[in-house]
């Protein structure tokens, strides 16, 4: 299973939308993806090391350099396919490049 960490300020709205969208789209593309939605302030180096890809709502200063690929997922929020597709494509490209399963 591919594990993705989505994050936003409150962990209740935009990160959940990213989670729902990524799980649905990546599932449709044939990948077994589980995405967790959290508050940015709760992310530690230890926590992020349990995931394969980090998808914040915007460029985010975590106070450390993430050890996993980071993909800004903000455009997903608009729920406009043409805006979301580049984000989905980048996630899929990362899955392929890293050989994630």
């Amino acid at each position: 299973m591919i594990k993705i960490l989505a994050a936003c300020g409150a962990g209740v709205n935009s990160s959940h939308q990213i989670k729902d969208a990524l799980e649905r789209e990546m599932g449709d593309r044939g990948y077994d993806v589980q995405c967790d939605a959290v508050m940015v302030k709760d992310i530690t180096e230890d926590k992020i090391s349990n995931y394969d890809i980090f998808t914040p709502i915007a460029k985010t200063d975590l106070g450390f350099t993430p050890s996993i690929p980071v993909i800004d997922a903000g455009p997903i929020l608009y729920r406009i396919p043409a805006m979301a597709k580049p984000v989905y494509d980048k996630v899929e490209e990362t899955i392929k490049d890293k050989g994630l399963k």
Binding site: V12, H16, K59, Y78, R79, I80
Partner: protein, 167 residues
């Protein structure tokens, strides 16, 4: 077994018009009204404002249609609210918010959807419904809606539009 019915997202007596000119002023004004109604905790205001500084919520609708005004979706964690509801606020004056997906940029906002969410795992994603509303309603209808200062008309349009969504 029948699914539990969710509370309505909009209630007519929590639709507001504000003439304030800064994000702090308008959020304070509305927070005080929501606190009076028992919809939020006393810490709601300071947490929304604090969060807005670190994780802003302005959304540029110019990418949807250049004629639409920008919106913002101020919110905070579920522990500071008592209900699951959206509070619409028409802004009579432009109010500056930073961009949610590019916090280094600012924009003038003319309408707020303040999200009270004490159930983030709920059946339907509130933000997704707001964005569906902003991207699927015709630009003409949205333009009229965003200009309206009639709280009853705002409530009725939102209630009807969100009820029609197939989430």
């Amino acid at each position: 077994m029948q699914a539990e019915k969710e509370e309505p997202l909009f209630v007519e007596d929590t639709v507001y018009i504000s003439s304030k000119t800064t994000a702090e002023e308008v959020i304070k004004e509305i927070s005080d009204k929501l606190l009076e109604k028992g919809l939020v905790k006393p810490e709601f205001y300071e947490n929304v404002i604090g969060r807005e500084k670190d994780y802003p919520t302005g959304i540029d609708l110019g990418v949807v249609n250049k004629d639409l005004p920008n919106i913002a979706i101020p919110h905070t964690e579920g522990e500071f609210v008592n209900v699951r509801r959206v509070i619409p606020v028409h802004l009579e004056n432009p109010v500056t918010f930073k961009n949610m997906i590019d916090p280094s940029s600012s924009m003038e906002v003319r309408f707020l959807f303040i999200i009270l969410n004490n159930d983030p795992e709920g059946q339907s994603n509130i933000l997704a419904q707001i964005m569906n509303f902003c991207t699927t309603i015709s630009a003409n209808d949205l333009g009229t809606f965003f200009k309206s200062t009639d709280t009853k008309a705002i409530y009725q349009f939102l209630n009807r539009s969100f009820a029609d969504q197939d989430m």
